[in-house]
């Protein structure tokens, strides 16, 4: 190579240096990239300038100063303290937390349900496999908005009125205003229970690592799973009892209009959460089924030949390989669920879009609020994607 290249380059260097620069693919590449960046920057700058110019022309106040103003409206379900005296910024934060809450619980439930249904579709039992198939085909083929309205108007709205609430175990009630259950009020020293839980979790992780290292060294197995379960449940429970059960409950009781006291989950949250979970689970089920079917049959046969039982084969041979195929499309489903949560507007759940919509109307700051929405959803999606990429790298094939 070293002796070959100069003889080719020689004729070029004898021509004028400008024309050689023009025909140099590297220089050309850089030129077009700079040009593209400059054009995009100019485009963005023009949009910004023009928007500002037009807003000024129309006498519309602009900027983000309005976020410090008093909101003046109330929100039904809030995770942090909030009243109509709070600022617009805080109202938006409450909306964001509501979005995160429904997305978080939705993702967990959809994953569990999706895995169960996906594996059930591959079951050798005809009835289980067909039931799972019917589930997938129904929920996959209905728009998510209709699934939300189905739960809100079709299921929850026909529950009894507050006066005829359905009594559930543990002093809980269900009616068309939501689910009511006792609220725990922690007494003195209750924080020790939390400490015990953290200690148990840390101890379990240590035991897992030790057991794995020992198995790699000696081949001896240790029942670390059972030990961890006993630790995580047992240690806080023992602490709780040793402290003399420092908890009291605030029970829901019938008020003039509705049940009062206790904790409430509104029908808006319930219907949105159930709809997103059921809808997304049908897609996850298909991804799981596809992932499992993509693992070569030889793997199962090799495991059987080694004498592994079917359950162990699934858990230790099939699933770990299937996960590598499942995780990337799973990420898209998590992102979809988070974004679909903006359909909350249809049932009046105070998510970030609904709260932002109210703010938009009260302040008229349309450009600013739409920009905030975009930034919020973009950040949520990027964060989820980064986490899933990390998880994917962790699950990837480790070559020894």
């Amino acid at each position: 190579m070293a002796g070959f290249a100069p003889s080719l380059a020689k004729p070029d260097t004898q021509q004028s240096s400008t024309s050689s620069l023009i025909y140099d693919p590297k220089v050309r590449g850089i030129f077009y990239q700079v040009l593209t960046v400059a054009l995009v920057a100019l485009f963005v700058w023009e949009i910004t300038q023009n928007t500002i110019h037009n807003l000024e022309k129309a006498n519309i106040a602009s900027g983000f100063g309005f976020l410090q103003g008093r909101a003046g409206f109330d929100i039904a379900q809030t995770l942090l303290p909030y009243s109509s005296d709070s600022t617009y910024g805080r109202a938006l934060l409450i909306g964001l937390l509501n979005t995160l809450q429904v997305a978080f619980f939705g993702i967990i439930t959809a994953s569990i349900l999706g895995f169960v249904v996906g594996i059930a579709r591959l079951s050798k039992n005809w009835l289980i496999a067909r039931l799972a198939q019917v589930y997938v085909e129904i929920f996959r083929n209905i728009p998510p908005l209709l699934v939300i309205l189905f739960w809100y108007k079709g299921v929850i709205a026909v529950l009894p009125q507050a006066r005829d609430s359905i009594a559930l175990p543990l002093a809980s009630y269900l009616n068309n205003r939501g689910l009511f259950f006792p609220k725990a009020i922690w007494g003195n020293g209750a924080w020790m229970v939390g400490v015990a839980l953290v200690v148990a979790i840390v101890a379990s992780i240590v035991i897992f690592r030790w057991a794995r290292a020992r198995q790699a060294r000696t081949g001896q197995q240790f029942r670390s799973g059972w030990t961890a379960i006993v630790l995580i449940i047992g240690l806080p429970a023992a602490t709780f009892l040793a402290l003399g059960s420092p908890v009291t409950f605030d029970y829901p009781i019938a008020g003039r209009f509705n049940l009062t006291g206790g904790s409430t989950v509104g029908p808006e949250f319930i219907s949105l959460f159930l709809a997103l979970s059921f809808y997304t689970a049908s897609f996850i089920a298909e991804i799981v089924r596809g992932g499992i079917m993509a693992v070569a049959k030889g793997q199962t046969e090799a495991a059987s030949a080694l004498g592994l039982r079917p359950g162990v084969t699934t858990r230790l041979v099939i699933i770990p390989q299937a996960m590598r195929i499942i995780i990337p499309p799973l990420t898209s489903q998590f992102l979809n669920l988070t974004k679909n949560s903006s359909l909350a507007v249809a049932v009046g759940f105070a998510d970030v879009v609904a709260v932002g919509g109210t703010m938009l109307n009260q302040t008229g700051q349309a450009v600013e609020i739409v920009a905030l929405w975009l930034v919020i959803y973009l950040s949520l999606s990027v964060t989820t994607a980064l986490f899933m990429n990390w998880f994917n790298a962790k699950m990837a094939l480790v070559e020894r």
Partner: protein, 340 residues
């Protein structure tokens, strides 16, 4: 507007047609041949489409009045149904020429939103509707109730203020569309529905059993409803305002759609002046219209009293008395400056 074509196109994409519509709305309307009004998605008596898509209501007739004044033809009005959330961006961006959509005139809407209000075509106030079976007699008994309300309205803010001022607890259930909020109330999701009192009477008619609902006596706010236009276009603002004043003046003079032709020839000098029958009068042309602008409004749409009676009055299913909306000569608040 000294911007390039490129930026104008981008600006239009970002902000609707704000750049094009900001200056001379009257000229734009004349060029288009139609006046575009933002109206509600369906409030009986104010702006409500029937099953054929024909609109009726007091706000709709206001818009037809504008069309009659500009074109001499009330049918040259186009209606754009807007949710309470979408109405302001629609006006700001120039999607509609005027918002005749039972919108409350407040200082912040007049200033920071960049709008202008002047006339009030319906004086309203916020009230509450509850189920009769709850046996509630006053709004002060509503502590602990779930309240259905439409998103992004002054109603939502007044509700928060009223319950806070009276130390009452409540649970707001907020919907973007009025229809969703009312159906949730009807289905029993809420104990209370709140909006302007005129709206409550109209909405009560849509309930499964209208007689099971009762409107509480309290009026907790002032809601002057009137048309809004964009700031910075005084000519168009004048046209929109004087359409209302012409309708009120006509009622005051006793001019109706039936006797307007007779009045034009036989009326007193002030009536002749208003209807454009005065020699050498420039009232109409100074407004940017023709001299028979007021005649056209009254002839084709009617005076304020006729419009009220047709859409809201005791003869309609809504059955609202004139009350605050009577003429000032009859103890109400409707008053028009002189047309001279």
């Amino acid at each position: 507007m000294k911007k390039t074509i490129l930026s104008a196109a981008i600006g239009a994409a970002v902000l609707g047609a704000a750049s094009a519509a900001s200056a001379a709305t009257l000229a734009d309307v004349k060029a288009k041949g139609v006046v575009t009004c933002g109206v509600s998605q369906g409030i009986p008596g104010f702006s409500n489409p029937n099953d054929k898509g024909d609109w009726s209501g007091i706000d709709v007739d206001y818009c037809r009045g504008i069309a009659a004044a500009v074109f001499g033809d009330p049918s040259k009005a186009k209606f754009v149904a807007l949710s309470s959330k979408d109405r302001f961006p629609a006006l700001q961006s120039g999607e509609v020429d005027v918002l005749t959509r039972n919108t409350t005139w407040t200082i912040s809407r007049d200033t920071s939103l960049g709008f202008n209000f002047r006339t009030v075509n319906y004086y309203d106030g916020q009230g509450f509707m509850v189920k009769k079976s709850l046996n509630v007699k006053s709004a002060l008994e509503l502590s602990g109730a779930a309240v259905c309300v439409q998103q992004g309205t002054t109603t939502e803010l007044n509700l928060a203020d009223y319950f806070k001022a009276n130390n009452l607890q409540y649970n707001p259930v907020v919907f973007e569309k009025e229809a969703d909020a009312t159906s949730a109330y009807d289905a029993g999701r809420c104990d209370v529905y709140t909006t302007d009192q005129s709206g409550l009477y109209a909405i009560r008619l849509k309930m499964k059993n209208p007689d099971e609902n009762v409107v509480l006596p309290e009026v907790i706010s002032k809601e002057p409803l009137g048309p809004a236009v964009r700031q910075g276009d005084d000519q168009w603002f004048d046209v929109v305002s004087w359409v209302h004043y012409a309708m009120v003046s006509a009622e005051e003079f006793g001019i109706t759609s039936k006797n307007v032709d007779e009045m034009k020839t036989k009326g007193g000098p002030d009536i002749k002046r208003m209807l454009g029958a005065e020699e050498g009068s420039k009232i109409g042309t100074d407004l940017g219209l023709t001299n028979d602008w007021a005649y056209n409004i009254v002839k084709t749409v009617g005076n304020y009293g006729e419009v009220f009676a047709r859409n809201l009055g005791p003869e309609t299913p809504i059955k609202i008395e004139r009350g605050l909306n009577a003429l000032w000569t009859k103890g109400g608040l409707q008053y028009a400056p002189p047309i001279r």
